[in-house]
Symmetry: C2
Subunit: 449 residues, 2 copies
């Protein structure tokens, strides 16, 4: 019998908890769930798991609970992982998280190895499934003796197709603040052997369209720093390396209006927020002109067609309304987020979807050095407002990885991420076979001149 | 007889030192000049001042030198002012600087007052002459019982008109790094009673043209934070408040190309800088396309006419050249600065000029509440590469203020800035009468409807 401790029972843990309960059903493994909200922890445990009130800053409690189990899954905010990791080291327990490995975590590698522990991180969706699905194909290409020359990858957390006449075809399905701030800073990638940089204010105009069979077209804009994947995936020398985010076509051009206005700025507090309307918020980024409407000033400033699609999206989402923002204070980004949440919050009928797409280019050494391209995609839909696609894609890899570790099927030790076959292969297989994740892969021969 | 200690004898102190030497000539006042470079200090002192090697981190030396004099002028980098200020407090000496008052300095106010000391800051050009020339008119308007409703102010450090066919009509006349980074962050101002914000990437497209009689047209873009002047000048309730920077017309549209590219970004180190050419630098912000030239890609990306004025400016300044940048490493902003310095460094023939312009709007209570506008400008030219306009405008106010303090003509005590009549009036008069600063003021009646 194995014992698992899950820390954090919020929205994103719902599907993970369901998965852990099946381990209890099948193998009698004991599950304990700690959350600041004991009632929530108990309710989600459905009587099969022990829920308890948990406070991560209470070291005595943390150590007592960690000491009792074989493996800890931390769904706590990333800043608390180190406290958990230290307790795991102290009592020699495995640890699994969905968060990025930072320097502090990396420094535990040696000690974790020495104690024979797995500290598996970046094992959710992004980071997580992106690593696994990419490395599966990359390893395949390399194992065949071929040379990888290009890797592009996009992920999107989107609204599943709906009847609603939402011209953005988008709602917040995850952390709305991160969506508003997405892309700030400088975007870095490699294109045909050259380092390329895009400043934030140009990002949403440099998009590309990707077609995914059965699911239609998606629009991708670049993520902040693709270069870090040079080392993560061992891609030094690759000619093209680009990671991005998917939206539905047309989203970026309209979103760009907010960027151009400065409405996504998070660096300063605005004035008089308590009495500010949506319309006044937008007007504060436009010149004074007592004769023109805010709509007309905006259209003129950013060269928009008053009857066009972008203006339609902006009107639909309510930015010209005389409604109060409803905050007491805030940065432009916080105020924009508050305005957008009024229209972009999922209803009980809405479902979300996750779309991930990779493109690999390689020189086929077994076929006259012909350049070949592989497309691989993964699509999964939310089932309802609890088991959203986000909750599934973050939670299931954590759950499956935890099972594999406790079954002794993972030989790696130390601070790792799921880019090794012993992890990605069984996890991707289970996601596809047992949980309906739609994986497809197709090979494209690049036309020869 | 009075004793003055000047700390810092660099380029910007040249005119100040000349001024101090005249005080020695006229009144026999003793001048001591401390600089890390003793030779420089001695040379600039022309045998009339005592130059010595000075190290601000040597507290014993600092205190010994401060102890000997009546007043200290610090031209050291702003971060060293607190050490000097503390020594001045300890030995009860007056202090004069051209730097902004920060929180630490402000906290010395009470003790300086108690000891009967003047700690005068922000007494150079900007901050300095801007405060003085603005407050002179603002006080005038208020003393006549009128209501100030608008204040706009622009300052530019520019290249004096020249025969050279420099299409930018601009060279670096001061800190080139600050010029490259100018405007980063968010611009805040008040227009007709409304707070307005401009993000950096739109700043150089929201310019206005100002005509100054005898000197022609200037183009102004907004400075970062005008709102701080609400309190500095006691302007709470004012309807329009805007501070900006002058360039020659056409500059901003061309500069905007660097901003749009991301070439002014200072947040990350670029790759392969040692082998990078100007052209490769620009290309790193453009998409890959093996068939088009860098010029064509840039023109297409930012919608420029290949034969137009902006492209002419860009070509003239050398950004498409195959010349090496000449740095070992650098951020985009550092690399752009290095490229521009090759063309934008003053030659021995070049002269700089400082242009300052204020616009005041007020309700004339003595004339049927008629809205009235006052324009006030100050222009001064550099004499040569030593006594530049920058050196004159920063140094002379410091020198004159020091004289006034030592003559007992300044009654204010504590940490102050030159917004009081006892300072601005004699300083502005001396600048105009003895140093050829061209002050003009004109009154404009706003047309009535």
């Amino acid at each position: 019998m194995k014992n698992i401790l899950l820390l954090g029972a919020g929205q994103s843990a719902s599907t993970l908890i369901q998965y852990l309960l099946t381990l209890n059903d099948a193998n009698g493994w004991q599950i304990a769930i700690g959350d600041v909200n004991a009632e929530l922890a108990n309710k989600k445990g459905e009587g099969k798991a022990r829920g308890f009130a948990f406070n991560v800053t209470n070291v005595a409690q943390l150590e007592e609970e960690v000491g009792k189990v074989d493996l800890v899954i931390s769904m706590l905010p990333a800043r608390f992982h180190m406290a958990v990791a230290n307790a795991c080291l102290k009592f020699s327990k495995h640890l699994v998280t969905a968060s990025y490995v930072n320097t502090e975590m990396r420094e535990l590698d040696e000690e974790a190895k020495r104690k024979g522990l797995v500290f598996l991180n970046e094992c959710g969706l992004d980071p997580g499934i992106d690593h696994m699905s990419a490395m599966q194909v990359i390893d395949q290409i390399r194992n065949n003796g071929n040379e990888l020359i290009g890797f592009e990858s996009f992920t999107g957390g989107l609204l599943a197709p709906t009847d609603e006449e939402n011209p953005w075809k988008y709602k917040f399905t995850w952390n709305s603040r991160n969506v508003v701030l997405a892309g700030q800073g400088v975007v870095k990638f490699i294109q045909e052997g050259r380092y390329k940089f895009i400043p934030y204010h140009r990002l949403f105009r440099r998009t590309e369209i990707v077609h995914i069979p059965k699911y239609g077209e998606f629009e991708g804009y670049a993520n902040r720093d693709s270069l870090q994947y040079l080392d993560v995936y061992n891609l030094r020398g690759i000619k093209t390396l680009y990671r991005g985010t998917f939206r539905r076509p047309g989203f970026s051009k309209a979103w760009n209006i907010f960027v151009q206005l400065g409405a996504t700025d998070d660096s300063f507090q605005m004035e008089d927020v308590e009495t500010m309307t949506h319309r006044q918020f937008i007007n504060s980024f436009l010149s004074y002109n007592p004769h023109d409407s805010v709509e007309l000033k905006l259209a003129h400033y950013l060269n928009l067609d008053m009857q066009g699609e972008i203006m339609h999206k902006l009107k639909w989402v309510g930015i010209f309304s005389d409604e109060l923002v409803g905050l007491k204070e805030g940065t432009p980004a916080q105020i924009l987020e508050a305005i957008l949440r009024k229209k972009w919050t999922l209803s009980s009928q809405d479902k979300d979807m996750i779309v991930m797409w990779h493109k690999f280019n390689y020189i086929d050494k077994n076929n006259n050095n012909r350049e070949t391209e592989i497309h691989s995609s993964i699509v999964t839909m939310g089932e309802n407002t609890t088991h959203t696609a986000m909750s599934k894609t973050v939670g299931l890899p954590l759950g499956i990885a935890s099972k594999l570790i406790l079954e002794g099927k993972v030989k790696s030790r130390g601070v790792i991420i799921p880019i090794v076959k012993e992890l990605y292969e069984p996890i991707l297989t289970e996601l596809s076979e047992d949980f309906g994740f739609d994986f497809t892969e197709s090979c494209v021969l690049t036309p020869q001149e």
